[in-house]
């Protein structure tokens, strides 16, 4: 009953079931989680709320990274202005103090937004390991409809309870349009 080793370069990637509607995919993911599958993923043309819970995926790294990005931004922006305006190049403008805090606010704020936005986008892409031109899931027959109007549930061969026959029977019982074993 043991699945294929993660390092196995040949064996199958997993079993992929195709569904016609988001509701069917949600129910299938819920049942697969109850059946004990952990290494699985769902594929859909648009984000479906509740699907992360259904497949048991939790992740809050992006917001945390964005917060750190924002802190870095405000620190960099403020330090740059403070250092240049008070230490490296103090210039008397209209008798204002060198360290004139209120006028530092706009640029510090803009730097905060800039750094956090860059972190949000590039952090999201990095965590999702994109760009990735090749992925085994693309070998699924009919997968081009995943971006259009079909919904897929993949149970990966790396899952400890994966068994090509048992898992196939389990997926077939969920009334999918098709179940396919997909090569790596």
């Amino acid at each position: 009953m043991s699945g294929h080793a993660a390092s196995d370069p040949v064996g199958p990637y997993g079993l992929v079931a195709e569904f016609e509607s988001p509701q069917e995919l949600l129910e299938a993911a819920e049942k697969a989680k109850l059946a004990g599958y952990k290494k699985m993923d769902a594929y859909s043309p648009f984000p479906i709320h509740g699907l992360s819970d259904a497949i048991g995926f939790r992740d809050a790294k992006v917001p945390f990274m964005v917060f750190l990005g924002g802190l870095t931004g405000v620190a960099c922006g403020f330090t740059l202005i403070w250092y240049t305006a008070t230490i490296d190049y103090p210039l008397n403008v209209g008798g204002k103090p060198f360290n004139s805090l209120p006028s530092y606010i706009p640029i510090s704020f803009e730097c905060t937004v800039l750094f956090s936005a860059l972190t949000a986008v590039f952090g999201m892409l990095a965590l999702n390991k994109l760009p990735k031109p090749y992925h085994a899931i693309f070998n699924t027959p009919g997968f081009e409809r995943c971006s259009q109007d079909r919904f897929f549930l993949a149970i990966e061969a790396e899952d400890p309870v994966y068994d090509s026959q048992v898992t196939r029977d389990f997926l077939a019982a969920l009334h999918p349009v098709a179940v396919n074993e997909v090569e790596k």
């Binding site: 305006a85 190049y89 403008v93 004139s100 937004v113 800039l114 992925h135 081009e144 995943c146 971006s147």
Partner: protein, 470 residues
């Protein structure tokens, strides 16, 4: 005959995921859908872009003396156009970020369009202050903080420096927002493409997007955070632009009401521009089921609401000039409005910005695309005149009457302005032809939500106004 109220159906016709794909993606995959209308827009745009190119080259060769500005009117058309274009861009961010946070789902069919407009408008805007420096390549050291061999740093206490940071951050963040919205749609185009070259191009730009739930999960987190970041950003950008005028001591450039009034004016002009492009596009490309009359109605109402805020700003400007008891302020207020040489511009501005949008109180005017289009053109003109009245008019007559000097624009002032309009149209034309004009995955999401909320189809065929339940 009394008009029936519009219902709140955001997607009309018998739609499913496939019909949405076909309606939007075919604009790119079936190039035959682009007919004469597209070529007219493109040709107009290319001619304008040529004019812009010539204006820029002549400016760089000859210097900014070819423009009408001269002391005391050091800022004129260049800054008017800069503020006008930046303002137009703001509607895009309002639609994509603020309406997302407010859960206004009708934004899904216009946000891609409006974001593209933001980016192109900011590109046009950025040209003006850069070229106003005369020689942009030597302006670098006082615009951007880099350790240069002259040991000089930019002046961070100046609102002009704040502008540099605000506008460049705004451009970067808007571009990021637009691009991450496009990635899942590129995947749709990759999968629907029949020509190998199209498939390869969209395969590359879709970054291998496969619609995985784990990806969507982080994608939505990032998208929502970007919306949350863009919201204060867009308010800060026009606030900072208005600081250029609000924080000076020149009469007429010394009003604390400028930040909110500039932000409202930006949204006002921006919605007018969104409608200017959305109305022809939805009728040329038969997208009336996705951008419905209800959308036009909502946008017209926002235009009216922001127009009223702007009208309040105009009243406060006069009130402050009087209440300050400052003779220079009061004289400037009169000079601008009654006996100054450009008083006609002020009258036109009031007609375009305050009188014209009042027609949007009448439901018939909000539903008739012709009246909506005409009012939007008037609003765009009016907002340009508003900046013209504020910027050069305050400078021509100052504290010392001996220093007064009338301002006259030159051919090259107009050339540069019309040129950027052409450049904007070129970019819009290319966008309509080569990128999805409506966010495909968000429309599918919306359709799914509508269908699960109303299991019995509440979607009426056609797009005539139909009776609402309320």
């Amino acid at each position: 005959m009394a008009l029936q109220p519009l219902n709140d159906v955001m997607i009309t016709g018998d739609q499913n995921n496939r019909s949405l794909d076909d309606a939007i993606a075919s604009l790119i995959l079936n190039q035959r859908r682009h007919q004469k209308g597209w070529w007219m827009l493109f040709l107009f745009g290319v001619l304008g872009t040529c004019l812009m190119g010539v204006s820029i080259m002549w400016l760089l060769y000859q210097g900014i003396g070819i423009w009408g500005n001269n002391v005391p009117t050091a800022w004129a058309f260049d800054i008017v156009n800069f503020v006008w274009w930046i303002g137009i861009g703001h509607a895009g961010t309002l639609i994509s970020a603020i309406l997302l946070l407010l859960r206004q789902q009708w934004r899904n069919s216009i946000n891609r369009f409006a974001e593209a407009m933001t980016i192109f408008a900011v590109m046009c805007a950025g040209l003006f202050p850069l070229l106003h420096t005369g020689r942009p390549w030597v302006a670098l050291f006082w615009l951007f903080p880099y350790p240069n061999i002259m040991a000089l740093w930019p002046q961070f206490r100046s609102p002009l420096m704040w502008d540099v940071f605000a506008v460049s951050t705004y451009f970067t963040v808007s571009l990021l927002f637009w691009i991450i919205g496009l990635i899942p749609d590129f995947a749709v185009l990759r999968d629907k493409a029949t020509k190998p070259i199209t498939r390869v191009i969209f395969g590359i730009v879709s970054l291998g997007w496969r619609g995985s739930n784990q990806h969507w999960h982080r994608y939505e987190q990032a998208y929502l955070l970007l919306a949350g970041l863009s919201t204060p950003l867009v308010l800060s950008v026009h606030t900072i632009v208005s600081y250029d005028f609000a924080s000076s001591i020149v009469p007429g450039w010394n009003v604390t009401v400028f930040p909110p009034y500039f932000v409202a004016g930006a949204v006002f002009a921006g919605f007018a521009m969104v409608l200017t492009f959305a109305l022809p596009v939805r009728s040329f490309y038969k997208l009336k089921d996705l951008i419905t009359d209800r959308h036009v109605d909502w946008m017209a109402k926002i235009t009216l609401a922001t127009g009223l805020i702007v009208a309040y700003g105009y009243m406060l400007e006069i009130f402050f000039a009087w209440y300050s008891a400052n003779p220079y302020e009061w004289d400037m207020a009169n000079n601008r409005r009654y006996h100054g040489p450009y008083a006609w511009a002020y009258v036109m501005l009031i007609v375009c910005n305050i009188v014209a949008p009042q027609f949007f109180w009448i439901p018939w005017c909000r539903r008739n695309v012709i009246t909506v289009f005409i009012i939007c053109q008037l609003v765009s003109l009016g907002m340009w005149l508003e900046r013209f009245v504020i910027i050069p008019m305050s400078l021509t007559a100052n504290y010392l009457p001996s220093a007064n000097r009338m301002y006259y624009p030159t051919f090259w002032d107009f050339g540069m302005f019309l040129g950027t309009i052409g450049f904007f149209c070129t970019l819009m034309a290319l966008f309509i032809r080569f990128l999805p004009v409506i966010n495909i995955f968000e429309m599918k999401d919306l359709l799914y939500k509508i269908k699960t909320a109303h299991p019995t189809p509440a979607i009426e065929p056609g797009h005539e106004p139909v009776g609402s339940e309320a």
